[in-house]
Amino acid sequence: MKVQINPERCQGHGRCYDLAPDLFGDDDEGFGKVLGDGTVPPGQEHDARLAALNCPEHAIELLEEA
């Protein structure tokens, strides 16, 4: 699984870096950013889903690998 942030939608609510701090961080203006290349390490899939499902702007995309 990989995570992505759509910068057109992100408004810096920060739910992703609150809920999944190992996967997301904030930039100098508080917008969310994906840490590393966005690959979700095994065991963190729940956090990734939680971040996506709590984003008020629907800015987080989960890419499930086949």
């Binding site: 408004q11 609510h13 920060g14 609150d18 100098d28 508080g30 939680l50 709590n54 984003c55």
Partner: protein, 423 residues
């Protein structure tokens, strides 16, 4: 460095000569039908707006009133979101419903940028402020906030009943924002008056309202002058030095933003802290669960923000438009009720209940779109610290007299009297 003469007599004169807006008739008194005559400043709404909103969502999802010179009230999540995202048709040039509409020429800057600004200016004015309000930046305020909360509870010694709104919740955001702006902490009590003048005095005769608002601007100008003489590391000095498009900010921009930063964080956060304590005081199960599982607090806080969202924003319709079944006229107000959106059963399961372990909670308490509350990270920090310290220090507490609880009317709703028995 040349003296900063932006705030000289010239500026004061420009303020006096600003173009006038339009005024509407002040209408008060009981509401005849919430679908056609709503008023968010009447006592029934202040006491409990949720049954009214639930009823409207069913039978008239975009309600109207002739009060305030004409206003609309959407109560569905999808409609509130659509308006928040549509900055083309709905302007932020005024965001507090009243009987005064500022002149159209005030857009896209508005009186208190960036909350009152429209694109494209909004983006640039907001960008100046974002770095000071990131989650990382506001953690610097956390130790001081925690010490201050403890000092408020220390002062409860010997009392069995305390007013958690007046003697606790109210003081926390006042202290934090005074510190960030570099205003004297002893001026806190004045800020409450400014907040009431701006946000609750909306049905006062317009001349009286203008008179009251000018008191805030006099205060801010005094702070500006003090900071021009004594520069320091705070938001006021930052705004005085900030540049946009290659020059320092227009004086009305500086003062308008100072007004925004002072007012916007106070009774909003005060309301959120108070409403959370009110819920816990009357819900022993949730109180005990949070005491036993402190790790659940951040999840519970999101639910308190959803269920008791303190803030309703407003917009002005730009041009006549047929929108979701109704005919809106240019300059009609829209009351943008995030509280109503947050209780829409089409968006949330068990929307009317407080579920403190709700895992998926895409609430709109801090707004949606480009105007997402600038201070949301600060507000969340204050709310978390205020509740942590309270729960740690005061294990068990109940409503001393449920009928004595009072709630503010208008666009910011929260407890203003909240007597709690703490031992």
């Amino acid at each position: 460095m040349a003296a900063d003469d932006r705030f000289s007599e010239n500026y004061l004169q420009t303020r006096e000569e600003r173009p006038l807006g339009t005024r509407s008739e002040v209408v008060t008194g009981p509401v005849s039908d919430w679908a056609t005559d709503f008023s968010h400043v009447e006592p029934d709404w202040a006491a409990d707006p949720y049954p009214i909103q639930d009823d409207l969502r069913q039978r008239c999802p975009v309600a109207h009133t002739d009060r305030f010179g004409g206003a609309w009230l959407p109560t569905r999540y999808d409609d509130v979101a659509a308006i928040a995202y549509d900055t083309e048709r709905f302007s932020s040039r005024a965001i507090i419903v009243s009987n005064f509409r500022p002149p159209r020429e005030l857009a896209p800057v508005g009186g208190s940028p960036p909350i009152s600004s429209d694109p494209p200016f909004h983006h640039d004015a907001r960008k100046l402020l974002l770095p000071a309000f990131t989650k990382t930046a506001v953690t610097r305020q956390e130790p001081g906030t925690r010490r201050f909360c403890h000092s408020l509870i220390d002062a409860f010694a010997g009392q069995d009943v305390v007013d958690a709104a007046r003697d606790y919740a109210q003081h926390i955001p006042v202290r934090v924002i005074a510190d960030m702006l570099g205003f004297p902490p002893e001026d806190g009590p004045q800020f409450r008056t400014f907040v009431e003048d701006l946000l609750e005095g909306i049905n006062l005769p317009p001349d009286e309202r203008i008179e009251r608002v000018s008191r805030l601007f006099d205060y801010l100008l005094a702070q500006v002058n003090d900071h021009l003489e004594h520069q320091r590391d705070d938001l006021t000095s930052y705004l005085l030095n900030a540049e946009l498009y290659g020059r320092k900010l227009d004086p009305s921009h500086v003062v308008g933003t100072m007004a925004l930063l002072l007012i916007a964080g106070i009774d909003t956060t005060w309301s959120a802290i108070g409403a959370s304590l009110w819920h816990l005081a009357k819900t022993p199960g949730d109180r005990r669960r949070l005491a036993a599982e402190p790790g659940l607090l951040p999840t519970a806080i999101e639910e308190f923000l959803r269920a008791f969202a303190p803030v309703t924003m407003a917009r002005l319709v730009r041009d006549d438009v047929h929108w979701h079944g109704v005919d809106m006229k240019a300059d009609d107000w829209i009351l943008l009720s995030f509280p109503a959106a947050n209780r829409d059963p089409a968006q949330f399961d068990r929307a009317g209940e407080v579920v403190i372990d709700r895992e998926i909670n895409r609430h709109a308490a801090f707004g949606l779109g480009i105007h997402r509350c600038l201070g949301s990270h600060l507000a969340r920090m204050e709310l978390r610290v205020a509740l942590q310290v309270w729960l740690e220090r005061i294990g068990d507490f109940t409503l001393a007299d449920p009928s004595a609880v009072t709630w503010s009317a208008g666009q910011i709703r929260g407890p203003r009297t909240l007597p709690l028995r703490i031992r």
